[in-house]
Symmetry: C2
Subunit: 335 residues, 2 copies
């Protein structure tokens, strides 16, 4: 499978996630406990990956599987980073409102680029750096509040702690992605075996969260396993399956493509969600949405188009570059 | 003189134009007739160019001067295009409000690129096209109204005629620039002789406008020459000299650089004016101003940076390209 097909599918599924989540509400509130969704999604991913691993093990050669403790112990780390991230996010939201937090979330695009360079030692051309900055600017532009919308005065006027925590949050979020990519590419173990390890810890950490919530709530509503599916509708199940599927696609991209592809995929999904919402929920399009989309499209083209398509080079040089590009794109496809 | 020094000077002078014009008002209104400013600026440019032409004629070899009627008759054309443009602008403003008109004015950047390609047959790389679109998007972003600002609901809700006229206006404005560049580069006549012809017609057309205004006003305030300097302060004279100087710099750029350089120069000036206004008139900076500035800076870099600075090319190719760039930049400097 080609990486851009996976990226496209991820974009479509991620953008439907927002729409499905809104549709799963009744009268503007959730009838179910939203914290159960990521837990069940982890269980779904674990189930699917185990199935694929079992199927792979029937074939020859059998999948490469490393069960050494020194490797396995690395797999809870992404979950731990996400745990810290969620707590930082919670604290940040006591300083800034949700729209400011959403705007600051676009910083993640730039921090991912920086950590990609620093930790994974992957070189980017100046044009690709500019493309990454433009992607962050484009998504932010599309989110600028129009006139007449409420709670926009608060933007850029939060206490300094709010901004520091927002930057920390963007770094942690990027770090989790970069660390996962490092883990998936560390050895040529079967993707499904790597997934099984990742999602086992993911399920455990999400279960721990449900237990902690129960203790905090003083077990007033009973233990989590007794009310796990309370208020679940068909749409809620679609939210779970959809979240699980996007997770599996991200895993695939981390192994066979990279974090930047994932960042583009989810940014495009955000724009697609906004466009879908215009039609589904009758929102009014703003000029800034239109401008943001143009900037993101330009950024996409700048990052991924082969150089000879962007700048005019002498004909002799072109053929050399084309062969170079072919080699690097070959490496990116699934074998 | 290098073209980028002239472009930088044009940026500084153009941005001070907005500030000076605001400063020349007293209590929010003009004490003088604003229509006299462009007329006096044309007279100033004509005077300066005549002086330089006279100085040039003392030296040997004497300046190259074509007085053939078939060439001279082309010089009123830019003035005629501007005259049509001003009338279209006036009609457009009966359909759309001034902020929508200002937003649509950024279309001029894209239409200039298109006419540059069509009429002057100048090739641009894909990256340069993208840069031009991003410049238009960036300047537009910086002008998006913030929340709480008045009269923003009208945006994107004007009648269709307003938008059609706005596009026509952008085409006419670009056409005037492209035609002037064609005229200045048509032969290797002295720049000052070309200026003298251009500004003689410019002064005549501006004078005609004052006369027409007098007839329309029924000579209630007396003929224009009797009240030419009425209400002029030192700042008003600075507005005139400044406007004249920017005109002379634009002329220079049309002969030794091109329309795209001019477009970048004036777009950067617009951003600079906004930043200056923040300090001088205590405006609140908006997030969209900040985002627009980043997009314009990226666009500037994309358009003018040599390709080998933007994309990674094999080392052998680099040296070839560097020599190519040197040749083309040599052609751009004044001899």
């Amino acid at each position: 499978m080609q990486w851009y097909m996976v990226a496209l599918l991820l974009t479509v599924l991620t953008s439907s996630q927002g729409v499905l989540t809104t549709l799963s509400q009744s009268n503007g509130r959730y009838d179910y406990d939203y914290a159960t969704v990521p837990f069940l999604a982890e269980v779904f991913k674990l189930f699917v990956s185990s199935l694929f691993l079992w199927k792979e093990s029937q074939k020859s050669p059998p999948p490469k599987v490393t069960t050494d403790w020194r490797t396995v112990r690395l797999y809870p780390i992404p979950s731990i980073i996400y745990l810290i991230h969620n707590n930082v996010q919670f604290t940040t939201l006591t300083y800034v409102d949700t729209s400011t937090y959403q705007i600051m979330g676009n910083l993640k695009i730039v921090t991912t680029g920086i950590l990609f360079r620093l930790f994974l030692k992957r070189k980017l051309s100046n044009l690709q750096w500019m493309a990454i900055i433009l992607l962050a600017v484009g998504t932010t532009t599309s989110q600028v509040k129009g006139c007449g919308e409420a709670s926009c005065e608060s933007l850029l006027s939060a206490p300094i702690q709010g901004y520091m925590l927002g930057i920390l949050s963007a770094c942690l979020s990027a770090l989790a992605g970069i660390y996962t990519e490092f883990l998936m590419k560390k050895n040529n173990d079967s993707l499904y075996w790597q997934n099984v390890q990742l999602y086992t810890f993911g399920a455990i950490f999400n279960m721990a969260r449900l237990v902690v919530d129960d203790f905090r709530g003083g077990f007033e509503k009973g233990p989590w396993w007794q009310r796990l599916f309370n208020g679940y509708s068909v749409t809620t199940w679609m939210v779970v399956i959809n979240l699980g599927s996007t997770g599996l696609l991200v895993s695939w991209l981390m192994k066979y493509a990279d974090n930047i592809v994932k960042v583009y995929s989810t940014s495009m999904a955000m724009l697609l969600t906004t466009i879908l919402s215009l039609y589904l929920f009758n929102f009014r399009p703003t000029l800034q949405l239109f401008l943001g989309i143009i900037v993101c499209m330009m950024s996409l083209h700048m990052y991924f188009a082969p150089p000879q398509m962007l700048v005019d080079l002498p004909p002799v040089v072109k053929s050399d570059l084309e062969s170079l590009v072919e080699v690097s794109s070959d490496r990116r496809t699934d074998s």
